[in-house]
């Protein structure tokens, strides 16, 4: 049984356009995935593809005007508010994406400690500080005094990792020194080997591939492909979706071929495939027919023509 199972999760919110006309904006659409204990699943996608909202949905901290459908199971149980209250900050830890997630008026050291913490967690954070070569004085600083790299390390240290079973890391590495990225990735890998499940949200495919077992690629709120990390090889022949292939080939070591166009904004009246306008293997039916997710060669893909 997977530790975390996300079934047909959709996240949408209602927006007022022009006075009283409501418009429903879907930001995550019918997402399915699962993470087993000891597994690292990377969620890769451009900014605005709905990655952070996925993290917030799992933590149950979405704003009130947001509606979700579908279900999230944790250890086979429905992860509702009651279960979340028991596990938030304990078994399930979020590593947030920027320094704005720390209280600007409180010293870093004091913030690392939560009410659920005991001596073990404090010691663990101290040792994390040492590993990251953050001096003791850092605990006495306020968030605004931290440099970008220091901030990332502090944010990773907020997860008291020993008791954690599921880590949701929302863009934990950008801005870090490459050595520190390696250290942070190493920590996640080590945790996974110890039985922890890690959801690694990032736009850095390379970092993701270094530790992930599976990679979910997001495009405009849809998971368009779920592939094993091993599929990212060569010219991307084993990849299924044209977007994933394009992403892979855009990397400097794989040809450095950019893809034109931008990710579309989501609204309720989308017909056909969201990627159609930028797709290299575009066909006539892509404009009208919405691709459903289907299994291809042991992975999942949302494309009419993928083989």
């Amino acid at each position: 049984m997977p530790l975390l199972e996300v079934n047909k999760l959709s996240i949408s919110f209602v927006q007022y356009v022009k006075g009283s006309v409501q418009q429903r904006i879907t930001v995550v659409d019918e997402l399915d995935f699962a993470i087993n204990e000891g597994e690292i699943v990377a969620v890769v996608g451009a900014s605005g593809s709905g990655k952070s909202l996925l993290a917030h949905a799992i933590m149950g901290i979405l704003p009130k005007n947001v509606e979700t459908t579908g279900s999230i199971l944790y250890g086979g149980e429905l992860l509702d508010e009651k279960l979340l209250r028991r596990h938030r900050g304990r078994e399930i830890a979020l590593v947030p994406q920027s320094i704005s997630f720390l209280d600007p008026l409180m010293r870093v050291g004091k913030q690392l400690h939560t009410r659920a913490d005991g001596e073990v967690q404090d010691k663990e954070r101290d040792s994390l500080f040492e590993r990251f070569q953050l001096g003791k004085h850092v605990a006495r600083l306020f968030p605004f005094q931290l440099s970008g790299g220091m901030a990332r390390k502090v944010l990773v240290s907020t997860a008291a990792l020993g008791r954690t079973r599921l880590i949701i890391a929302d863009e934990p590495t950008p801005g870090m020194h490459p050595d520190d990225v390696a250290e942070a990735l190493g920590r996640f890998k080590q945790l996974a080997e110890g039985g922890c499940a890690v959801l690694f949200i990032t736009h850095d495919i390379e970092a993701a591939l270094r530790i992930a077992d599976k990679v979910a690629v997001f495009y405009a709120g849809e998971a368009i492909e779920l592939a094993a990390a091993d599929d990212f090889k060569g010219q991307g022949e084993r990849l299924r979706h044209p977007y994933t292939k394009a992403l892979w080939r855009a990397l400097p070591q794989n040809g450095f071929e950019p893809i034109t166009g931008t990710q579309p904004a989501r609204s309720s009246d989308v017909q056909g495939c969201l990627f159609a306008a930028r797709c290299s293997s575009y066909a006539e039916d892509c404009k009208t027919k919405r691709p459903e997710s289907r299994e291809v060669r042991g992975g999942m893909v949302r494309c009419l023509h993928a083989t």
Partner: protein, 331 residues
């Protein structure tokens, strides 16, 4: 730390000196240009019995016949020696009048200030925590109504209800009429203070409650509250740990910057309740052209308002480390 306070205080003192100097000049000029003739208002009802020559003598006695710059310089040099002159209407040194009045007003304003600050802050927090509930709507409508109500009108209303209809509280003044000064008890003084205090604080609650409410709503929407929730904090603990400090800034600004409004409100409230405070003395001094007293009062209130703002500036630095340290500084 001590060094920092000294620098802070030094800068503030220089500003205060400049402010007092310019306020003195402007007030003096305004009084000199005002249509109220001090001799006329001094004579008052005796106008028929005082001839033109006597008037000139009175004017000469007070130095009113001298040119404006000369009068100002004379007043300033006396002030620098600690002499604020003699009040024309009270026939007492200005310092005495102000000291006595200040005691009454200070107590009145302190009570009103504390009440409105504490109640306003709590009401704002409560409204924000229960946003869009009936409690929020109640507090909001109270604030909007009160924010658009003049304080003297509230004073009259309170007077009608509690003094005239119910007869629970005295209509006005600082102490009961017809009682010897040594027989006046503290209970008497407090009873006379209730309505002016209520008037002032009822009006003062609105801005602080509304600002606190809005700020707390903003803070509760912020990333760091989201993260605190993701770490299992919630409810009152979350508010105490991350909310209060972050909403303290606007509350402090308003509360200390309201010294000016408090003084202005006190002028009206004291007038309505014939309460013998600084506010009433200011009105008297202005209407009857009592220049020494008016100047003294203006300087006093300037000092008062300035102190309020300086305190707010100081508390900012206490509350918000971003104002205390620069980025590279290590605490």
């Amino acid at each position: 730390m001590i060094n920092g306070i000294m620098v802070f205080a030094g800068k503030k003192l220089i500003r205060l000196a400049a402010l007092l100097a310019s306020v003195s000049i402007i007030t003096f000029a305004l009084v000199a240009m005002s249509p109220i003739d001090p001799v006329q208002s001094y004579i008052g009802a005796d106008v028929m019995r005082v001839g033109a020559e006597q008037r000139q003598e009175i004017a000469a006695y007070w130095g009113l016949d001298r040119p404006f710059p000369e009068r100002f310089i004379k007043w300033t040099s006396a002030l620098l020696q600690g002499d604020m002159g003699t009040s024309m209407i009270y026939r007492e040194p200005v310092t005495h009048v102000i000291a006595e009045r200040f005691m009454h007003s200070a107590l009145l304003m302190a009570f009103a200030w504390l009440l409105s600050g504490v109640i306003g802050f709590i009401a704002g927090v409560a409204a924000a925590m229960r946003k869009d509930s009936w409690l929020d709507r109640l507090i909001k409508s109270y604030c909007y109504t009160l924010a658009s109500t003049p304080s003297f009108w509230i004073g009259l209303l309170l007077m009608m209800i509690f003094a005239v209809w119910l007869g629970w509280l005295p209509v006005g003044m600082g102490v009961p009429a017809g009682v010897l000064a040594e027989n006046v008890t503290w209970a008497d003084r407090l009873r006379h203070m209730v309505m002016p205090v209520l008037t002032l604080s009822v009006v003062g609650i609105a801005p602080i409650a509304l600002h606190t409410r809005q700020k707390l709503i903003d803070v509760m929407d912020s990333d760091f509250i989201l993260f605190a929730k993701a770490r299992g904090e919630r409810g009152l603990g979350l508010l105490l740990r991350h909310g209060l400090r972050n909403i303290a800034l606007p509350a402090i600004t308003l509360q200390f910057a309201s010294f000016g409004e408090l003084f202005g409100g006190a002028v009206l409230a004291e007038q309505v309740f014939s309460y013998p405070g600084l506010g009433q003395a200011t009105v008297e001094a202005g209407l009857r052209g009592d220049v020494p007293l008016l100047m003294g009062l203006v300087l006093c209130s300037t000092l008062f308002v300035f102190t309020g703002n300086a305190l707010a500036d100081y508390f900012y630095r206490m509350v918000d480390p971003r104002l205390r340290y620069r980025k590279e500084e290590r605490a």
